[in-house]
């Protein structure tokens, strides 16, 4: 298990998280950045790397991916360290006021200040509205296929119509005892070759395909035993099943951050606009993840928030020193060694 010690742990490697490294670095504070995604840049890298952005001051037009590259270059003198591909999980406040942030993989980051720059949050499986769904989680209901062997010789019901539903149907059909794919629509919009394959597998009887239908109820004493399928214009009926795998894509969620004791409002973290501090001393929230009267979800606003956060965090990292605003035009960039 890895243990990292730093001044500031930044949760989220999007543009605002990266720029926070710069603002902290100017004040000689070291940063470690954690992100659930495998690459830096957040949404800019993941969702719209080729889209131009027009409201970054000084750039009449900049490609999202290029903005990320520029930010990486800008923070390079401060030698930030990164844990990528690991979502943060737990936060523990120490007696001396410092924190230990733990990732899902068990990496521990000991820090004096935590800055949450989590954007939309992390992407988690979208759950269908079925009454007792939670009861069967880990007892037959699973939202992703981690180890296909789990399903060997089992009766599996998959629900969904996207690529992952198609792909796992094709893959698991060879392993399961019985596989049923339940889809709300009459056709699939996923990759045409996967859709065609699923259709032909259904015709050949390798899988059971139920269109224009939904899984509406789950049954079983403790573990899942059957699901009810609600078919358009027909009486609902039950299918016996050991596993139900709803595959309805991903939706951004705050995730484990919800349990950190932060003041929240509609899935956003409430901050004080004086310094973008949260209700927990030593924890700040900047960028799209925070909320305050007049909040605008703009990258440039996140940059501003990062600057104000850094001067406040300075008082925690260096309690005996007085903060003095320094201009980069006067002092240049002092590399952190």
């Amino acid at each position: 298990m890895e243990r990292i010690t730093t001044d500031i742990c930044i949760v989220g490697a999007g543009p605002v998280g990266l720029f926070a490294v710069f603002e902290a670095g100017l004040l000689k504070m070291r940063c470690h950045v954690v992100d659930a995604l495998a690459a830096v840049g957040g949404q800019l890298t993941e969702i719209y790397p080729k889209k131009p952005i027009y409201d970054i001051p000084g750039f009449p037009e900049v490609m999202a991916g290029d903005l990320v590259k520029n930010l990486e270059q800008q923070i390079d003198p401060f030698h930030p360290t990164f844990t990528l591909g690991e979502r943060v999980e737990d936060l523990e406040k120490q007696e001396d006021g410092s924190f230990i942030v733990t990732t899902v993989a068990g990496t521990e980051i000991a820090c004096k200040v935590v800055v949450i720059a989590g954007g939309l949050g992390s992407f988690e499986p979208r759950k269908p509205a079925i009454e007792n769904l939670e009861k069967y989680e880990n007892n037959g209901v699973t939202y992703m296929v981690r180890d296909p062997e789990t399903f060997r010789d089992k009766r599996v019901v998959i629900s969904g119509g996207g690529d992952s539903a198609l792909d796992w149907t094709i893959y698991l059909a060879a392993i399961c005892k019985e596989l049923t794919l339940v889809h709300r629509g009459t056709m699939f919009r996923g990759a045409p070759e996967s859709a065609a394959k699923v259709m032909s597998m259904a015709e050949e009887g390798q899988i059971k395909l139920i269109l224009k239908s939904n899984v509406s109820e789950l049954h079983g004493e403790n573990e899942l035993e059957a699901v009810t399928v609600l078919v358009d214009n027909e009486a609902p009926y039950q299918i016996e099943a050991d596993y139900f795998i709803p595959l309805f894509g991903l939706v951004p969620k705050l995730g484990p951050l919800e349990n950190w004791g932060l003041d929240l409002e509609k899935s956003a973290i409430v901050v004080n606009t004086f310094d973008y501090s949260t209700n927990i001393p030593g924890i700040y929230a900047i960028g799209d993840i925070n909320t305050y009267p007049g909040k605008l979800k703009l990258i440039l606003c996140g940059f501003h928030e990062a600057a104000l956060m850094a001067q406040s965090a300075y008082n925690i990292v260096y309690p005996d020193k007085k903060f003095v605003l320094k201009y980069t035009t006067v002092n240049g960039i002092q590399e952190l060694t």
């Binding site: 969702i47 979208r126 269908p128 996207g162 939904n214 709803p246 309805f248 894509g249 509609k266």
Partner: protein, 107 residues
Amino acid sequence: MKDTITIYVAQENGERIALEAPTDMGLSVMEVLKANEYDIQALCGGMAICATCHVEVLESEALPEQSDDEAYMLESLPHATQQSRLSCQLRVNEELDGIVLRIMPEA
């Protein structure tokens, strides 16, 4: 050219609330709903990636075609209907005048 249109939001009790929306500001229906303080998250801000602005269109004239991104997102929603749309992908223009929609709960 009309410079405002009316969008009706159907409430649970069947009542329809009329919202006036300007056509010259490049707004989406999602933005109109947010501006009128409807409780929709619209987390992603209009990129058709979160589906937290999902509406069902109850009455309308011809609507613009769904983009691939929108169609794909709607396809993946467990509780979408044939009339489902992402309100962030509906531009406020004259063709939308009189549209009646219902805000869909999050899955």
